[in-house]
Symmetry: C2
Subunit: 449 residues, 2 copies
């Protein structure tokens, strides 16, 4: 079946994402004729991405229509799918917060409950607008915090919501290093977003963990001593992740190891030891600027293409689909091109055992025209993973949501005190007050009393 649909992208100025979406739409035959509405508060970036998208579509002869608007409510009118990629404050603000925490003795730390304020507020506003303006639409939340935000929105509104992340592709990085063909792998990695663990890892229907064990024994030490990452996020097979595997008996996948075990993350030397050269993983003072500059370079490449109408954008940006799940999921829900996807969704029915039903979990779901059907994982998460990794993340999320909904400053303080990098009560109090006093944080300070 083929049906043209109305897709709205909020935070469309995130050009890499938006262009990827357009590519996937252009390359998906049965979504032709679809109408994409780009919304952003930055009119200049909005014009740029719309122009680029139109050129890309035109060059391919794809039958897509584009609208741009800075009016969020107008963008929702008639929408069937809303993709929210917005990050209200962005990289530079995050860096300023980290500089402040560093001045108070913290290594590379952002108080997360506090930091989520702007995105929480925007997400709730969007979900409430959807309830009113386009109640049958699906919201595909594609910006962080996916876990906290989708739990917040699904609890507070009746909007139909799923959240997406890239982290689960970590299993592909494993396959790549192990020399396994991804098409012959069966996998499951349930949990909550940024805390997912590889409960099933099979190759040709046989447990593939022994292949990993053999690699660790025969090649691990050499790999850890000699591998030099070319992407800051390349840590899936690092010494630290394998140590986590040894501790819990399962591999943490994707973004998960960035948040496992405070002891792997205390300082740059420790991070380099566990997560490798040259950056010690993505969350260090030397890695983050590299990551941000990679993003800036991509933007610059787009800007160059935008300024030069003679450039063939299909040549510059390629004609292969991304591995993003947004467009295939839209196709599944709209046209019945059903499939199995890794999504974040309320744990209705308790498919991920041991997590409350009103918490959003990340796991596989079958998606078809009937909707999102959570699939119960074949194996439960082991007790130690639940107790030491997943449930503490749920608690942290709950603390942040309660703090936000109640506007309770004490809960922000508890959040900072729960952070292992905090060394004293006074330091935590000082940090809280300092972050609330940052220029531009007036609304946050007023919200949390």
């Amino acid at each position: 079946m083929t049906r043209s649909i109305n897709i709205t992208v909020i935070g469309a100025g995130s050009a890499t994402f938006s262009l990827g979406l357009v590519k996937d739409l252009c390359l998906t035959e049965n979504l032709k004729g679809s109408h994409v509405t780009f919304m952003d508060i930055d009119a200049q970036r909005l014009r740029n991405i719309t122009g680029l998208a139109e050129r890309y579509s035109r060059e391919l002869g794809a039958d897509l229509r584009f609208t741009q608007t800075t009016d969020r409510q107008a963008a929702l009118s008639g929408a069937e799918f809303i993709i929210n990629t917005a990050d209200v404050k962005g990289h530079h603000h995050a860096r300023r917060v980290r500089e402040l925490t560093e001045s108070l003795g913290y290594y590379y730390y952002t108080p997360s409950a506090l930091g989520h304020f702007y995105n929480f507020r925007l997400m709730l506003d969007i979900a409430r607008d959807i309830e009113r303006i386009c109640p049958d639409a699906w919201l595909i939340q594609s910006g962080n915090p996916v876990f906290d935000g989708t739990t917040l929105m699904t609890r507070q509104t009746n909007a139909k919501i799923i959240g997406l992340c890239h982290g689960h592709y970590g299993y592909l990085e494993m396959a790549n290093v192990l020399g396994l063909d991804p098409s012959r792998i069966t996998w499951e990695a349930p949990g909550v977003n940024h805390a997912i663990w590889l409960t099933t890892f099979m190759h040709d229907g046989e447990d593939a963990y022994p292949i990993l064990d053999k690699w660790i024994e025969e090649h691990g030490p050499t790999y850890w001593d000699t591998h030099v990452a070319t992407r800051t996020h390349d840590i899936q097979m690092s010494r630290g992740v394998i140590d986590m595997y040894r501790m819990h008996g399962l591999m943490p996948i994707g973004d998960t190891p960035r948040l496992v075990g405070w002891w792997y993350h205390t300082d740059l030397a420790t991070k380099k030891k566990w997560f490798g050269q040259p950056w010690g993983g993505p969350d260090t003072e030397i890695a983050r600027p590299v990551h941000v500059s990679v993003l800036s370079e991509r933007l610059a490449q787009m800007d160059a293409a935008i300024r030069d109408p003679a450039v063939k954008v299909t040549l510059v940006f390629g004609q292969t689909r991304t591995r993003e799940q947004q467009v295939p999921i839209i196709n599944a829900l709209s046209n019945g091109v059903a499939g199995c996807f890794q999504v974040n969704m309320p744990n209705t029915g308790g498919v991920v055992a041991g997590i409350d039903h009103d918490v959003v979990v990340e796991s596989q779901a079958w998606i078809d025209r009937g909707g999102v059907h959570p699939m119960r994982p074949a194996r439960s998460l082991p007790a130690s993973v639940m107790r030491d990794e997943v449930l503490p993340k749920v608690s942290e999320m709950e603390r942040g949501l309660e703090a936000f909904l109640m506007g309770d400053r004490r809960l922000l303080l508890l959040d900072i005190l729960a952070e292992r990098k905090t060394t004293s009560y006074d330091q935590a109090k000082m940090l809280l007050e300092a972050v609330l006093a940052m220029p531009g944080h007036e609304e946050v300070a007023a919200h949390y009393r």
Copy 2:
């Protein structure tokens, strides 16, 4: 109704406890004729306490019979109530462990999962013996770890078990400082042992928290500046506990504040600031020797009485009942002198909301000849108390039980890493290996692989 019953005390060499029990039995008319079996592995202490109990009973003309044995299984034969007060390793061993942890940079720390090994093993042995030898008997667990141990035993055996602690009497310390008549107070303090919070605090049927608030405002600062504790455990109205109250909106009771908020417990100066002069609460290097010497003095007083048959022991040790719950509970179960008690019992039916049904909770229960009837608290524990205080204690307990049942050394390491006082992975590993290598720990080292 009056019925003489068979009571067995395991670890009866704990003379203060055993003598208190004898006093309570002598002063409980309808338990006359009862038969008390003292069991201990220390024959000398066993002879001493039995002699003292016999003299006490004789002086009062109480109709009690006593047997002593070092054979635990013999002690259980015919028992209707078994009170277990045993602590396998005792104070001096605990001090040696703390000296070792201190040498590795820890302030006043005992790795608890590891430290529970001997008591866990004894408790399980006793509960299994009870299943076989006296399956209808009640086991009243009166030694630590009450929470972990009673959960372990109730899961692994069918023995009828309740656990008792003194901590909840903290509400009496509050009443005392506030000048309130305890008989006019209605209270509830549910949770798990050593993590209980005063959800109900009424005076003459009116909420008494405003009385506390007024005291804090008018007298708190003076009290905190001038109060000098005469007992190491006198911290219920300390600056630290009131700070916990401000944070969570409820008073933590009894032993609870000893385990709340790592930031109150980082070093002696911090402890003194929060828990007062002269010792900074019971868990400091200067308080613990005082507490142990108080216990030693009591033992010495008993030894003196034992050596001098002319001494009237009823004069030396008084003729008033203790506030221990063991004998009243036995009287309730045996003779229907029913009452409301603060006990530790499986959370069957989920009376303490948010805790798994197979976890032992501490809360009030009505006890009569029909058994132990858990009473659902009038108010649930607030979200922040559950999330930040109670559930982490449950997780810690679960980790320790799994470590014990599986003999899994990795879980002991995770336990040490979860301790806030640990500053690095290497320190945790070193500590674990050092504690396992302590002379006398050969069985522990062999158990955890």
